[in-house]
Symmetry: C2
Subunit: 192 residues, 2 copies
DNA sequence: TGACAAGGTGAAGCCGGATTCCGTATTGTC
DNA sequence: GACAATACGGAATCCGGCTTCACCTTGTCA
């Protein structure tokens, strides 16, 4: 009952396996971006040029595949926030994040679902999936509060909800212009 | 090939049938409000105190049941808009509609889904489901435009998308306060 | 190059939910 | 009260996804 179990622990993946894993990931990304998380495993396999069984060799379950991509997306979002934080002006920084983030979500149906599903589990302690995103966004908000350029009654939770709303509004916007418009409306509404 | 077919055309429903139809409708409403349109037929039947078969006697398909309720909800929404139109001030009228509508959507998961699914099919000509809602809301918007109290670049389509976004933002808001806050943000953003 | 374990395949199994079906119960009419 | 027409119930069926499995293929290493 000790810790042995040297089985197939961390032996490096075989070359073809690594390649396939990557293909699956890419195919899944495309499928989820287009069709949301209810894209079908069969479809993903087809896009990857692989049998369904192969997907299951790498991911025990569809949910695991979704989670893997979700983590990646949230990390991307965290990076966007980090980038925005480098802007000197607090309001500019927040605006930049909002705009870029909205753009991402407009394109990515899967991300919207993930974001929506996260719900308030997100803010629960620091445990939430990708806490880096949370801390970065918190920082963006705090800076604005200190500069007095953001409604005081909008905290992290409220901001998150509004971002989700923005994403959804944006989701069935056809033109790029509309997308911009919605972001503008929200941003204007956020001023004190 | 004429028009006969006098079969069971419009003979009034038997008493018990009418009663059950009503119960099903109420149960379905509750279920959809709570769980959205993927509430299960079995669950609806249970709530109605009826067998699944009975549901199918009255509605050929789950979708038909959803549609029936959707129409009703949209009609309700049209009524809210009509009521708002009675207010003398254009902006007050629009605000009132936004607030009451958001409140409805916050409670009604099914309605949110319907509203989201409607997508742009809504504005397509006058054909959309419940055109009364469309005309009333158009009127609310036009009045605001004439009074110059609403961004000129927000037309019906844009307004609709923003309402949907508001509903979604609101959907995982816990407090009533948050719900109000989101509406405020949007409304403020809508000013010219 | 041969052996063999890691990896791939996709048809079959499984499961959850909508829909059907038919024997039974209720209503309305004479 | 009895008959015919309507309705009801809910187990059986159908269907569309995810997941598994028994059997091939390929990469790796001596």
């Amino acid at each position: 009952m000790t810790n042995q179990m040297p089985s197939r622990a961390d032996r490096p993946l075989r070359a073809d396996a690594r390649r396939n894993r990557q293909r699956v990931l890419e195919a899944a990304r495309d499928a989820f971006v287009e069709d949301g998380t209810d894209a079908q495993m069969e479809d993903i396999a087809r896009r990857a040029g692989v049998g369904v069984g192969t997907i299951y060799r790498h991911f025990p379950t569809k949910q695991a595949l979704i989670d893997t991509l979700a983590d990646q997306w949230l990390a991307d979002s965290a990076a966007i926030a980090a980038e925005a934080l480098e802007l000197p002006d607090a309001w500019e920084a927040l605006s930049a994040y909002v705009r870029r983030s909205a753009e991402d979500m407009m394109r990515n149906r899967g991300l919207r679902q993930v974001y929506g599903g996260l719900g308030r589990l997100f803010e629960k302690g620091t445990g939430g999936r990708n806490s880096e995103l949370v801390t970065n966004v918190r920082r963006l908000i705090d800076r604005c509060h200190q500069a007095g350029v953001l409604r005081a009654d909008v905290g992290f939770a409220e901001f998150r909800a509004l971002m989700y709303g923005l994403a959804m509004a944006t989701s069935n916007a056809d033109t790029l212009g509309a997308q911009q418009l919605y972001a503008d409306v929200i941003l204007k509404g956020l001023r004190p």
